[in-house]
Amino acid sequence: MDRLVDISILMLEGTQVTLEIFFVTLLLALPLGLFAALGRLSSWKPLSLLMEFYIWLMRGTPLMLQLLFVYFALPMVGIRLPDIGAALLAFTLNYAAYFAEIFRAGIQSIPKGQYEAAETLGLTYAQTMRRIIMPQVFRIVLPPVSNETINLVKDTSLIYILAMNDLLRVARTIVQREFDMTPFVIAAVFYLVMTFVLTWGFKELEAYYGKYDR
């Protein structure tokens, strides 16, 4: 029993790294994804094409490859980031691309009549987006954003290859040292707890924003 507690304490430290990557990525990737979506929908062709290329690049290559690229290839051209910075850069760029596509679909699903009603009432484009369109978009994109967010919890385990002591790496280190599989089970429980909390949180959010549903 004592051993179980000791292992768990070690793994809580790993969880800290995991959560740090998770929260910072989410905090950066959500707004970046929104701007990328707006850029993608822009009537200014160069911007729209650039965003399309960015999204294609990020979604079309493995996240693992992107991590390795930022970690090993960038220093070769003189861009040296701290370990955690490299991981955050790769995660943020990758997840922003996925969020961008979710936001784009959400924005495009709002009927044209909403823009027209806002325009005839005298709202500017910025006011229309902020007050009328985005609140409706948030409601629509919550389920797919929830999906991606849960994926992100699990994808953070990829930083394992960058030799950072996240939850998974701590578990594996103990397993290799003591020839005991228990840490893997504990790691699984830790991940499950995190995704459970997220699932619950998003359900609450959906209920709150869904209050106007028919």
Binding site: A117, G122, Q127
Partner: protein, 264 residues
């Protein structure tokens, strides 16, 4: 009659003036030169078959569609004009917003904001656009909801209302901006037949209050009884225009007669 004379005496103000409006989509010309003048207090009903350009014309009035040629002026101020080279120029920035805000628009599909309550729908534009104070707008909004008979629904979301109720809220929302002209784009066409009555009643009340109105409609009874003038559009032109009684009793043009025969 006394009313008309009084208006003539003070030279009844021209609210809306369209000259030679042309509009094409792709290669198809939808409006082929529309001329129209609307005076204060007039209720203009626009009827015609679908594809006749009547909704497009209405949408050109408030900038939802851009004209290809012609001129539009609102209360004597220019919204759009065509220069000698044939290029259309619109008023810009705050000038344009001010002109457009003198017109309220009611859509076929209501277009209420679904994430806001009925009351929030009414308050949105006065607060956000005009920057007025909430406590100042609130009693006005309550009075408007009372007028359309929906004060008890103030905290309901649009999705919980019937189509007729939603459209009455949409009318109240447009009125909350205190427009001088109200535009209606087939306001009852998306409604179940038994719900059109309540919306038309609200519109008749507005007409009785001498609101200047342009109503694109398929409701012949409304056109005949509530309008002060009817125009019949077909193929992108105004075919016939006149006093409602006269128009429905003795249509002059063959196309008008054929259309009315199908409608009545």
């Amino acid at each position: 009659m006394a009313n008309t004379t009084a208006e003539q005496a003070r030279g009844a103000k021209i609210m809306l003036e369209l000259r030679d409006i042309h509009k094409s989509y792709g290669g198809t010309e939808v409006l082929k030169g529309i001329d129209l003048t609307l005076k204060r207090g007039e209720v203009l009903a626009i009827i015609g078959p679908s594809g006749s350009g009547k909704s497009t014309m209405l949408r050109c009035l408030n900038f939802l569609e851009k004209i290809d040629r012609g001129s539009i002026s609102i209360k004597g101020e220019t919204l759009a004009f065509t220069d000698e080279s044939g290029e259309v120029h619109y008023a810009t920035g705050s000038d344009r917003r001010r002109l457009l805000s003198s017109m309220g628009m009611v859509f076929q599909q209501f277009n209420l904001f679904p994430h806001m309550t009925v009351m929030e729908n009414l308050l949105e534009a006065p607060l956000t656009v005009k920057g007025r104070k909430r406590e100042e707008v609130l009693p006005e909004a309550e009075a408007l909801l009372d007028k359309v008979g929906l004060l008890e629904k103030r905290d309901a979301y649009p999705g919980k209302l019937s189509g007729g109720q939603q459209q009455r809220v949409a009318i109240a929302r447009a009125l909350a901006m205190k427009p001088d002209i109200m535009l209606f784009d087939e306001p009852t066409s998306a409604l179940d037949p038994e719900l059109t009555g309540e919306v038309l009643r609200t519109m008749r009340e507005l007409a009785a209050e001498r609101m200047t109105m342009v109503v694109v409609t398929h409701e012949m009874a409304f056109a005949r009884e509530a309008a002060s003038r009817v125009i019949f559009m077909a193929g992108g032109v105004i075919v016939e225009s006149g006093d409602p009684q006269e128009f429905f009793a003795h249509p002059q043009e063959e196309r008008t007669r054929a259309f009315l025969k199908n409608m009545l």
